[in-house]
Amino acid sequence: MTEILSLNNVTAGYGLITVLNDLSISLRSGEILAVLGANGCGKSTVLKTAMGLTRVTEGALTLEGQQITQMPAHERAARGLGYVPQNRNVFSDMTVMDNLRMGAFLRPKQFARELEEVFNLFPRIKERRNEKAGNLSGGERRMLSIGLTLLLKPKILLLDEPSSDLSPAMVDRVFQSICEIHETLSIPILLVEQNVNKALEISKRVCVLVRGRQALDAAASDIDTKHLHALFMDGGVRTS
């Protein structure tokens, strides 16, 4: 499998604060890579860095072999990076339809056709298409957020904690949708997740972060959950 997105020895953060330290992660074609770790270890920052929303001080990022380290976020989106943030993931004061139109900002001509695909995947969103996105429930927002990212026709999905703040039933539905997207559209996914069991269920490979550094990179099937919990609890850097 070829590497499609790579962070090579990246040090990055916000303003003067450094969050990621000399981190190297690569996403291969056809896989779901789960990035796990305790709160504040820099999981979300990995996705933001991939998307160009942080300040990279060292290292390099490549997308399909091309350097994107200095590329602005909107150009990365045009190159195929589809980012679904954990919070503030919809345009709250715009309608669901306007949100979806913004999802298709780069591909307005294909909007009508591809909108149906999104509605097929998330029928609930179709029902609420004329509502303000700010009035949607947490689960509906998450679906809308994934839907408007799919309208970009991304080559890679960057999903930031899709299960956070959702009811168990809604978590199941969202993860089911993620699996469907991965299988039917063959999109590699870089998944940041707090729900370890769910992440291990759907991912092929797992990367664990401790204080912004990589502590573990292994196949999901090889993961020893006790070892994983130890990494989460004591924050020590270990290798499998």
Binding site: G15, M51, L53, P72, A73, H74, R76, A77, A78, L81, Y83, P85, R88, N89, V90, F91, S92, D93, M94, D98, R101, M102, G103, F105, L106, P108, L148, T149, L152
Partner: protein, 311 residues
């Protein structure tokens, strides 16, 4: 006309009509400028005080285009060209100043905008001098059902209405306008959808600069053009924007209407007869203090609501 004017003072219903007319005209003058402040705030999240100076720049440019010997363009064309030129000046200010301080706090940007405003004010005084310039606008007085207004007043209200409709169509019916709304709603999400944030911010600067120029020209036509006109515009514009909700573009229009009606009606009401038996009105010189009061009230209400939510 004089008879009608006296008549309107004597009959409350005519006076109400006149105060309403005056309020609509004043609200129109404020609204065009206030909308630009809101447009900027909605995306960049800071109150740009230099916007008022852009309105004055627009007024001076329109005056220059209309009066410089050899140029003397018709007034509508002069205002149109001034709007484009001021829009470009706003973009230039962004390139030179504001684009370099995007990362700093809103308070920091606001202080820098004061600096930019003072710089523009000094430049205007140096170029045009401090004496007042008067637009030569042919206007006629119209008396209708006891209400008095001028053809210029009709133009001011008409232009404002037209601009608001055009702005609404642009923001809500075009792809670029929707993208601007998306940036205002959630900048980070918008750029990750492929919306070119920096390019659209420049467009926003152009639009707000152009609106400021038209608003400033209309204001100057109704009064006089001089560098100190900014002091007359500043308070009502920022009061209107605050009342309407800083980041709500069309809320600024509502704010302008509310403020204008409040100012005109509070001055009209005979508080003396109501409470003490002797006639007494709020002096018209205190008109601006009503704007300050409205501003304070809205800020107090907002802060108390924010405090309540925090609890």
């Amino acid at each position: 006309m004089a008879v009608d004017f006296v008549f309107s003072f004597q009959c409350p219903e005519y006076f109400v009509l006149q105060v309403t007319i005056n309020s609509i005209i004043y609200a129109s003058e404020i609204a065009v400028i206030a909308v630009g402040v809101s447009l900027c705030y909605s995306i960049l999240r800071f109150a740009n005080f230099a916007h008022i100076q852009l309105a004055i720049v627009g007024g001076y440019l329109a005056y220059s285009f209309a009066t410089i010997p050899g140029l003397t363009l018709p007034l509508p064309l002069a205002v149109f060209l001034a709007a484009i030129a001021t829009g470009l000046i706003a973009v230039l200010i962004d390139i030179i100043v504001f684009s370099r301080i995007r990362h700093i706090s809103a308070e920091g940007k606001m202080i820098v905008s004061w600096g930019v405003a003072l710089f523009i004010r000094s430049m205007l005084a140096a170029i045009y001098g401090g004496s007042a310039k008067v637009f030569d606008v042919p206007t006629e007085v119209i008396v209708c059902q006891g209400g008095i207004f001028t053809t210029l007043d009709i133009t001011v209200v008409g232009v404002t209405l037209l601009l608001m409709v055009l702005l609404h169509v642009f923001l809500f019916r075009t792809r670029t306008g929707s993208a601007l709304r998306a940036l205002a709603s959630n900048y980070e999400l918008a750029v990750t959808r492929g919306i070119p944030g920096d390019r659209l911010i420049r467009l926003m600067w152009f639009l707000s600069g152009a609106l400021a120029a038209i608003g400033g020209s209309l204001f100057a036509m109704q009064t006089r053009l001089q560098p100190s006109l900014d002091l007359v515009i500043l308070l009502p514009v920022f009061a209107a924007v605050t009342i309407g909700g800083m980041s709500n573009v069309f809320g600024a229009v509502i704010g302008a209407i509310v403020l204008s009606f409040a100012q005109n009606f509070l001055i009209w009401i005979d508080f003396g007869s109501l409470f003490f038996g002797e006639p007494w009105h709020i002096p018209t010189q205190l008109r601006d203090y009503i704007a300050v009061l409205a501003l304070l009230l809205v800020l107090l209400l907002k802060s108390s609501r924010a405090g309540g939510e925090k609890k």
